[in-house]
């Protein structure tokens, strides 16, 4: 890497961490399943990987699923994702339409030498955004006093990653990363009585989270058209703090995953991924998720599609909520492949505990290769 390139990398890294320090809305996708437990796990995928159902995540140098994928980042690359979700939650005959916009993912990668690439970025680790309204009444001074309670949380736990990958040979590469989990959620608890002689109360608090994790991965190319990736990640614990007081501490899961990609021709690729996470360490359900996807077209406008399924770690009852999604997308390159715009559409269905949540998510990704 030239001196100018290194300087550029340094500037981009600085810009990346500065952007993280701002109150960016990191959450990947709000969900009613984030109300209980730690929240809903985020997706560490670029729009390209997400529109293949996530199957290309372990192979995509713009994603942070497997650190080894950085080995394919042969030039400085910065990526950001914007996602807008239109969500419908149905339970017990009631239906609510919700919407939100988030910036869930950003990454930066660039080679230090021909065989050694470094990268970093942030992604949503756990989404902690919800707002719940309930109606009830309480016996006060000899009469029932109806009230409305609103309990909400607005925030997320972000995964700040610094990673490196090395290509050891034409058929093998390895990667490793360190993850700082950091974030906060602004929590609100409000009670408003119908009888205005009782004053409404509003309590707010900013809960801060921190944790740490490490990850490692390996990629093997047994034949030219096939790549196999295995990855693992271990996060130690998530600590919640209110001011200087620790209010909660839970263990975080270990993640094990494997992926296979087959490229029968330069213009067609298919992939499949399976991952397991030990969320029972955090008081939830262990989850297994899978995905399969394809990308067709090697030119400036590829077409992508994919499916994904699996479980969510937190929900009521004795069985984990399930999730199924279908995605499709495309991309467009500009300025001699220096700028890429990826577009995607995701349809997601989550079920569990009597709740059915469906969502349409519009994904816009921007990649710059200066």
């Amino acid at each position: 890497m030239s001196r100018t390139g290194r300087r550029l990398v340094a500037r981009l890294v600085a810009a990346l961490f500065l952007s993280v320090s701002l109150t960016v809305r990191l959450a990947a996708q709000d969900s009613q399943f984030s109300v209980r437990g730690l929240g809903v796990p985020g997706r560490w995928e670029s729009v390209r990987a997400r529109t293949t159902g996530g199957a290309f995540g372990p192979f995509d140098p713009r994603s942070s699923v497997a650190d080894v994928s950085l080995a394919d980042a042969l030039q400085l690359t910065a990526t950001a994702v914007e996602a807008t979700t239109y969500r419908r939650a149905e339970i017990g005959g009631s239906r609510d339409d919700l919407r939100s916009s988030r910036f869930p993912f950003m990454s930066l990668a660039g080679p230090l030498s021909r065989r050694f690439v470094v990268g970093g970025g942030f992604a949503t680790y756990l989404d902690r955004t919800y707002s719940i309204v309930t109606r009830d009444s309480q016996m006060l001074r000899g009469a029932y006093a109806p009230y409305t309670d609103r309990v909400g949380s607005d925030g997320a736990v972000a995964d700040l990653r610094v990673a490196a990958a090395a290509r050891l040979g034409s058929w093998i590469a390895i990667g490793a990363g360190a993850h700082v989990l950091s974030g906060s959620s602004r929590q609100t608890a409000q009670r408003i009585y119908d009888d205005t002689t009782f004053l409404g109360t509003t309590q707010t608090a900013v809960v801060r989270y921190d944790g740490f994790g490490i990850s490692g991965s390996v990629a093997l190319d047994p034949v030219r058209s096939v790549r196999i990736v295995g990855y693992a990640r271990s996060d130690n614990r998530l600590r919640a703090r209110l001011g200087d007081t620790e209010t909660d501490r839970v263990d975080l899961p270990t993640t094990l995953g494997a992926a296979l990609r087959w490229s029968p021709s330069p213009s067609a690729r298919v992939a499949g991924t399976v991952a397991w996470r030990s969320w029972s360490d955090a008081g939830g359900f262990n989850t297994t998720s899978w995905s399969a996807g394809a990308e067709v077209g090697a030119g400036p406008t590829p077409f992508r599609l994919g499916v994904r399924g699996g479980q969510l770690p937190f929900g009521p009852g004795t069985a984990a909520p399930t999730e199924f999604g279908v995605t499709l997308g495309t991309g467009k390159s500009f300025s001699g492949n220096r700028a890429l715009v990826d577009l995607g559409l995701e349809r997601l269905v989550r079920k569990g505990g009597g709740l059915t949540e469906t969502a349409w998510t519009v994904l816009v990704g921007l990649t710059i290769r200066p």
């Binding site: 916009s101 309930t134 006060l140 001074r141 309990v151 309590q203 608090a205 715009v341 519009v362 816009v364």
Partner: protein, 428 residues
């Protein structure tokens, strides 16, 4: 060109989808609600008021903003007293800027103007009775001191306010009286004509005059007249004959204000004596206040959010008077606790009021909503948790109410509080 159009479309798409938010949904508890919940508590703090006591003398009759007159048989007999500024021995007789004066050689008549600021509209034939009083009125004079002047024979005349107001133009052409009602403030201005025999001009006194005013009606009567402290003091207009060089005499008038005004009263019932005991006295004359100190639990002081707080007071001695004597009772936070001399807080959030109606009985409760005061004490932890119970405005009513003190354990002041506990933030 196509690229520019595509870029514009992407920008528009991003702008249209960004920054939209609606994440609020009805909760389906307990499965899809947070583990923590908002907990409301309703409790009565029975022993929260401690070290309470009453003090008298905050407003004395001659300092009051009202001159109280009342005829409440068996309760109180109160009368306004007024000493007017002397009109002097000479009046200006010149015209057109000529300041030549001439000696007053005779008086034709006088007009005494008073303003009724509060009255009982249910009292019919409201009548003011005017008395001529000695000229040595001051703040030490009592009802008994003036006993000799209150005889029927000494009354100058009476004026039936209702009758005069019922006349055309509200003017009694025969007697020269008039009554005007300000529909905005409901104040009644009463102008009574006095002849020179009723208020003779004494040269040696330079035209000093002092009057007493009593009120009567078909039923019990109680009114408040505006005092000089309220800017509504009585006025006396002299219509005099002044000596003139050019003519023998010329008619001239001069209006004078009040030099001293006050009221005196005779407590007719032992149940309305002004002696303080252990009860919490508020109002009356001279005006009494009660100081209440609150020993709030730490939980209330710094951990919860107050939805409602009601100070519950049990009446030990009810106020006596007519319905119009109902008054506002105020629980007023203090800046510093110096007992009777505690300065009142100017912060409106530290004032809570309620209306005390004539007719409540002994044992009845009076409630004051004071959630704002408790909230202000939570915010300002250095503020003394002390309240002064007082009448508002002070010195404008005869009735006095007394409440059971904290030493009466069964009927002590209590605080009924509804609050929300601290939410367990930070739990999953």
């Amino acid at each position: 060109m196509r690229r520019a159009a595509l870029a514009a479309a992407l920008t528009a798409l991003t702008a249209a989808t960004a920054c939209t938010e609606d994440v609020t949904a009805p909760g389906h508890c307990p499965d899809f609600c947070p583990s923590g919940s908002i907990t409301g508590v309703d409790t009565v703090l029975q022993t929260v008021v401690q070290r309470d006591s009453a003090f008298r003398g905050f407003v004395r009759p001659h300092e009051a903003r009202s001159l109280l007159a009342a005829t409440l048989p068996g309760v109180i007999d109160g009368r306004a007293i007024v000493l007017l500024v002397p009109v002097g021995q000479r009046l200006v007789v010149g015209t057109g800027g000529d300041t030549t004066t001439g000696a007053i050689v005779g008086v034709d008549s006088l007009r005494l103007t008073v303003t009724i600021t509060r009255r009982d509209t249910s009292a019919h034939n409201l009548t003011l009775v005017y008395y001529r009083l000695p000229l040595d009125l001051d703040s030490t004079k009592t009802f008994a001191d003036l006993a000799g002047a209150w005889t029927t024979a000494d009354s100058l005349r009476s004026l039936n306010v209702d009758s005069v107001y019922a006349l055309a133009g509200h003017v009694d052409l025969l007697r020269g009286d008039s009554v005007f009602v300000d529909t905005l403030t409901n104040r009644v201005t009463v102008i009574a004509k006095l002849d020179s025999a009723m208020a003779p001009y004494v040269v040696a006194d330079s035209g000093k005059a002092a009057f007493g005013i009593r009120v009567v009606a078909d039923s019990r009567a109680s009114i408040a007249l505006g005092s000089v402290e309220a800017g509504l003091g009585p006025l006396l207009t002299w219509f005099a004959e002044a000596d003139s060089v050019a003519k023998d005499t010329v008619p001239r008038s001069s209006t004078v204000g009040v030099r001293f005004d006050s009221f005196v009263f005779d407590l007719l019932s032992p149940s309305v004596d002004t002696t303080l005991d252990s009860t919490l006295a508020v109002g009356g004359m001279p005006v009494a206040r009660s100081i209440m100190r609150f020993a709030l639990p730490r939980l209330i002081r710094d951990s919860v959010q107050i939805s409602r707080a009601t100070l519950v007071l049990v009446t030990a001695r009810p106020p006596e008077g007519v319905p119009a004597d109902s008054f506002t009772l105020s629980a007023h936070g203090v800046l510093a606790d110096f007992s009777a001399k505690s300065p009142l807080s100017p912060d409106p959030s530290r004032v809570a009021t309620t209306r005390v109606h004539i007719g409540i009985a002994r044992g009845d409760t009076v409630r004051i909503e004071m959630a704002d005061i408790l909230r202000s004490w939570q915010v300002d932890t250095l503020a003394p948790t002390t309240l002064a119970l007082r009448q508002v405005p002070e010195g404008t009513e005869f009735p006095e109410i007394r409440f059971e003190p904290s030493t009466n354990v069964a009927l002590a002041p209590a605080l009924h509080v509804t609050y929300v506990k601290r939410f367990p933030f930070g739990k999953p």
